[in-house]
């Protein structure tokens, strides 16, 4: 990759939360390539967020709001708008980046990446004919994640690190400026918040209604926390300013007491000031929000309430010992495009449950590895604690000990398998390590462990992949003949098409196999060029990879089940 004084452009045209989630990658990347000059391209409205980022040498801020305003203004012609984009691209091209890493998952970032004509590209781009290209196996798996959420085991931050090819453990990071620190000191002083007070931040808003715990619940929780002596800081964007009043309305305590204990900072801070106040908090209780990520970046413990389409393994707080509460309802998380008419999950997480978690955190009863017994007080809720695994990647450990479900085991298996395959490592799934994790976090009923159908499905997939490999090898020979054996190539093409249909069907009829068949299809879509020989090599690699993946899963499953039955 890049050597001394190479120039790297990292594109991230996303929101505050996504930008903050990039910081572990920046730290790991800088650690690995200390001499590289790193430029970060972001949307101008988030320039302030990036001012606290580690490892970045310079910023390129694209004013998308101004450009959109031009597009909507008939006084600006098509040519004028074109020239505006041309200028932006020319400014970037002048810097002659050796490598472009696109960490945005959007069409416009893919087009920008393509237009920069860099020598090396990582991330999403397009080919010469405008087809989307996913230039990294971990990016292909990211799209797999969207389609197979319930079995996806990786956090978004770890995807970013992998796509940027930076390994090793690194936490989220944000440097609070000196003026912001002064602001926080003055703010706390003016509201009589002392350094020994127990300060809890509350983020009651979220980008969509569907993701929000009811305001009434936040209000009731706030009342209980105030009774227990907490100083409460309310956070949120300017658009959420009415939430402060609504929370106050719910609290049935003397008004002067509430005014003393509760401080409303909703819409009253810049990004830096928000970070400064969050760093004063002992805890933040929040929906899935950018504020949550800022809190983890400044080292404040988080309790996340994960609702609606939020799937905390993907986007949960990145760091050690954060807590996530998720509804135990079977429909969670809902699909990205679901418009739920009856979001009962919002009511399923009770105030007393959240309060109990907060109290246990305060007294240290939720320390690492501590588990809670499965009792009626934890009905309809799951609780998880964040931790880094042996590879420096984030995982969420169940805090409540439940009976092992098939999806739990499959998630653990897929996690181990993808790490091997996507990182191109040798070896097998460490069945003993997975077994130990299962026994540490779950109750296992030996009689109930039956994954025969899953094992057979993985075996059938491996067999199809093996057949595909065999035909692809022959196809390669025919393609390399001069002249090419066209009839044989056509026959091989038809046979492979049949096999691919069967592979696709296996993924559709056995949900547990779908991540493998999805990746296989993604791989085919990312084959470049029209040369039959090169395409044959590419398709052979895909079948061989699919064979390896399916075999690893089948073998790993069988070994782990054998170990669990031995110990049950």
């Amino acid at each position: 990759m890049a050597g001394k004084k190479d120039r790297v452009l990292i594109i991230n045209l996303t929101r505050m939360g996504d930008l903050l989630q990039m910081t572990p990658f920046l730290i790991a990347f800088r650690r690995e390539f200390p001499e590289v000059e790193i430029t970060l391209m972001v949307l101008k409205q988030f320039e302030d967020v990036c001012s606290g980022f580690p490892a970045v040498d310079s910023l390129e801020a694209f004013d998308a709001e101004a450009f959109l305003s031009r597009l909507g203004n008939p006084e600006h012609s098509l040519v004028g708008n074109y020239r505006e984009l041309e200028r932006m691209l020319a400014d970037l091209r002048q810097k002659e980046f050796d490598r472009v890493i696109n960490l945005s998952f959007s069409n416009h970032s893919a087009l920008v990446t393509h237009l920069l004509n860099a020598t090396e590209v990582v991330g999403i781009t397009i080919d010469e004919e405008g087809n989307r290209l996913l230039k990294h196996p971990w990016i292909q798996h990211f799209y797999n994640m969207v389609d197979n959420r319930e079995i996806n085991p990786f956090n978004y931050v770890d995807f970013i690190k992998k796509i940027g090819e930076s390994d090793g453990r690194a936490a989220m990071s944000f440097t609070v400026s000196q003026p912001a620190q002064e602001f926080a000191k003055a703010f706390c002083k003016s509201h009589d918040i002392s350094e020994t007070d127990w300060v809890i931040g509350i983020q009651a808003g979220a980008s969509t209604e569907h993701k929000r715990w009811p305001v009434a619940s936040f209000g009731a929780l706030t009342e209980e926390l105030i009774k227990r002596g907490a100083r409460i800081l309310l956070f949120g964007s300017g658009g959420e300013s009415e939430l402060g009043g609504r929370i106050r309305e719910v609290i049935a305590l003397p008004q002067d007491h509430v005014e003393r204990q509760l401080t409303d900072a909703i819409g009253k801070t810049s990004v830096q000031q928000l970070a400064a106040l969050l760093s004063r908090c002992d805890l933040l209780i929040t929906n899935d929000t950018g504020t949550m990520h800022m809190a983890t970046a400044v080292g404040t413990q988080v309790v996340e309430i994960s609702l609606g389409p939020v799937y905390f393994p993907e986007t949960g707080p990145y760091g050690e010992s954060h807590i996530v509460l998720q509804t135990g309802m079977s429909c969670a998380p809902c699909g990205f495009y679901v418009q739920c008419k009856n979001p009962v999950c919002q009511e399923s997480i009770r105030v007393d449950q959240v309060l109990r978690i907060v109290e246990m955190l305060r007294t240290g009863h939720l320390a690492t590895a501590h588990q809670l017994r499965n009792g009626p007080e934890w009905d309809h809720i799951e609780v998880y604690r964040s931790a880094f695994d042996e590879d420096g990647m984030l995982e969420f450990e169940p805090v409540i000990r439940r009976q092992l479900q098939p999806v739990d085991l499959l998630k653990l298996l897929y996690r181990e398998m993808w790490k091997i395959v996507l990182d191109e490592r040798d070896g097998d799934i460490d069945a003993l390590r997975v077994c130990q994790k299962v026994q540490r976090f779950f109750s296992v009923n030996g009689d109930a462990i039956n994954f025969g159908e899953e094992s057979n499905a993985f075996g059938a997939l491996a067999e199809l992949a093996s057949q595909g490999s065999e035909i692809s090898r022959r196809l390669l020979v025919w393609a390399e003949q001069i002249p090419q054996n066209i009839p044989a190539i056509k026959t091989a093409g038809r046979l492979l098409s049949d096999i691919d249909e069967q592979i696709e069907l296996k993924g559709l009829t056995h949900r547990t196999c779908h991540p493998l068949t999805f990746m296989f299809r993604q791989g085919k879509e990312n084959l470049e060029g029209k040369d039959v020989g090169l395409l044959s090599q590419g398709i052979l690699r895909l079948y061989q990879t699919l064979f390896r993946e399916a075999t690893l899963m089948r073998r790993g499953l069988e070994e782990i089940l054998a170990l669990l039955r031995e110990n049950a």
Binding site: L43, Q45, A64, L68, L85, L111, E129
Partner: protein
């Protein structure tokens, strides 16, 4: 129903006409881009289309085959931004 439709069309027609009048002419755009530039040459291929909009350009690009030229990719980029319809990418939904 027929009267209602006539009323709707009657009210709508001036607006449609106005929209068509506002769309820039191809010649004007080529002049602005300067005919000898890459953009000017790209726009000159839209023969038979007196008025050009972003939508009509992108529609034509999508019908094409083979490698994309730089002007084509830039217009596709413009179109991607236009999809945000007044709300910048990265804004809260």
């Amino acid at each position: 129903m027929e009267q209602a439709l006539e009323l709707i069309v009657a009210k709508a027609t001036p607006r449609f006409m106005a929209l068509k009048e506002k769309a820039p002419t191809r010649e004007n755009l080529i002049l602005e881009a300067e005919a000898e530039t890459e953009l000017g040459q790209f726009l000159s291929r839209f023969k038979g289309q007196d008025h050009l909009t972003l939508e009509s350009i992108v529609s034509e690009i999508r019908r094409g085959e083979g490698k994309l030229t730089e002007p084509e990719v830039v217009f596709l980029l413009m179109n991607e931004f236009a999809k945000y319809k007044g709300k910048a990418p990265g804004s809260s939904s």
